[in-house]
């Protein structure tokens, strides 16, 4: 997968309250494991939302495998799944199995095939014992696994994850990390749990809307720590 950002700037609001969250970002990404780090408000989430066309650039262009997010949002969302920080916001159906099946509602697949795929994913994420349970009663870690299963059911080529472990304890964060490490899909992961980036090929450090470091994890994380040590 080839992700290209050309001079992308994003500004929210107008007049004196306008806030620029991304400034003139130009990048080409082709790696299968890309980490995104930076403090809160540095532009990470906006950058990730651009990739799924949840946000469009105020100026500049975002292209993925040649598709422009401003024109081809529908096709891009089929190719790129998005995992939010708060799984509660992502869970739509009342029960676990129904929520996973939701993504295939308009797929045209026969019911038995949908059920088979749902079962397969629930077993893979050890949620099969909860298939008919209310989704909002799962633990935080299980909810994030459910959200991930609900994205994977549509077989995206890439997964964009916006701090999926921020609301989780260390045990569940590590568990999500192991699941992410085992995924076949291209992964773009924004996180404050820096150990999740072990084995990643490339890490981007965002600061005040710009990419201030772009390197292998150890180099980028060192740059990030140095940046933070200078903050008040």
């Amino acid at each position: 997968m080839r992700i290209e950002l050309e001079r992308v700037t994003n500004t929210f609001g107008e007049g004196p309250t306008a806030r620029t969250v991304l400034r003139d970002v130009t990048l080409t990404l082709t790696e299968r494991r890309i980490g995104v780090i930076g403090h809160n408000g540095s532009g990470k989430s906006t950058f990730l939302r651009l990739l799924n066309a949840l946000v469009l650039p105020t100026s500049g262009r975002v292209r993925i495998d040649g598709l422009d997010t401003s024109r081809d949002a529908k096709e891009l969302r089929r190719r790129i799944g998005f995992l939010f920080t708060d799984p509660d916001a992502q869970i739509i159906m009342p029960t676990v199995a129904e929520d996973v099946a939701f993504g295939l509602r308009r797929s045209g697949l026969a019911r038995p095939e949908i059920d088979r795929r749902v079962r397969e994913l629930l077993v893979r994420f050890r949620l099969d014992g909860h298939a008919d349970h209310p989704a909002h009663l799962l633990s935080g870690g299980q909810k994030q696994l459910l959200a991930l299963a609900s994205v994977l059911i549509t077989e995206p080529l890439a997964l964009v994850m916006d701090e999926p472990t921020t609301l989780l304890d260390l045990r569940n964060a590590a568990m999500i990390g192991r699941v992410v490490a085992g995924l076949d899909e291209t992964v773009l992961l924004a996180t404050h749990h820096l150990d999740l980036l072990d084995g990643f090929e490339r890490v981007l450090v965002f600061h005040e809307g710009r990419v201030v470091a772009d390197a292998a994890p150890d180099v980028a994380i060192a740059a990030y720590r140095e940046l933070m040590s200078g903050e008040p």
Partner: protein
């Protein structure tokens, strides 16, 4: 502990579970109309409440499950009953309160015994003839889905805001409840909308 007022689907093999979603919605409609039209005959409402309880029994649920569905309404029921008692008499109080109990109980029995996907599919099918009038049946189904989803979401928000109110010793302030509740509900609505778009719902 998170709560839910609306009955979430509980798998089962009873006759009520096996009944088609369309038939259940039709029964709900007929009972709804009947209970509204006959609420001045107290014995009809009483009979319908008894019938509804029998429906719960037939679905394999006890009185406790039924009570869980009705309990959140106790204030409304008490208020309605007292108001009717003072203005029109006990027969009307039983009739009106009974019809509310019947409607809520049967609606909950439908959702308790029918997978949401089956309910939504039925509603989408029923809304099919409206397509020439530029009504998107899938969108009608989506409204139902989001409505069902929002019940536990809003209940949980209300619990969190209430807890914050208690923690800040502002239990008597209506504003301390309403303002954060509205702000957080709007935020949650925004997040849910974004999630629906991310999952390709609006494509």
């Amino acid at each position: 502990m998170r709560t839910t007022a609306l009955g979430l689907f509980r798998p089962g093999d009873s006759a009520v579970h096996r009944m088609g979603a369309g038939s259940k919605l039709l029964i709900l409609l007929v009972l709804g109309v009947t209970s509204v039209l006959t609420q001045h005959w107290w014995w009809v409402s009483a009979a319908l409440v008894t019938g509804t309880l029998a429906g719960y029994r037939a679905a394999g649920f006890g009185v406790r499950v039924w009570w869980t569905q009705v309990r959140p309404l106790w204030f409304l029921l008490a208020f309605t009953a007292v108001a009717q008692l003072l203005t029109t008499g006990w027969q009307r109080a039983v009739g009106v309160s009974g019809s509310i109990v019947v409607l809520v109980s049967v609606a909950a029995l439908v959702t308790l015994t029918t997978p949401t996907a089956a309910l939504v599919d039925t509603v989408v099918r029923l809304a099919g003839p409206l397509a020439p009038l530029h009504v998107d049946p899938e969108r009608v189904g989506l409204f139902l889905m989001v409505g069902i989803r929002c019940v536990p979401l809003v209940a949980d928000l209300a619990r969190q805001v209430r807890e914050a109110q208690i923690a800040r010793r502002a239990t008597t302030s209506t504003r301390a409840f309403v303002v954060p509740m509205v702000v957080r509900s709007l935020r949650e609505a925004d997040a849910l909308g974004e999630a629906l778009v991310a999952r390709g719902v609006d494509d």
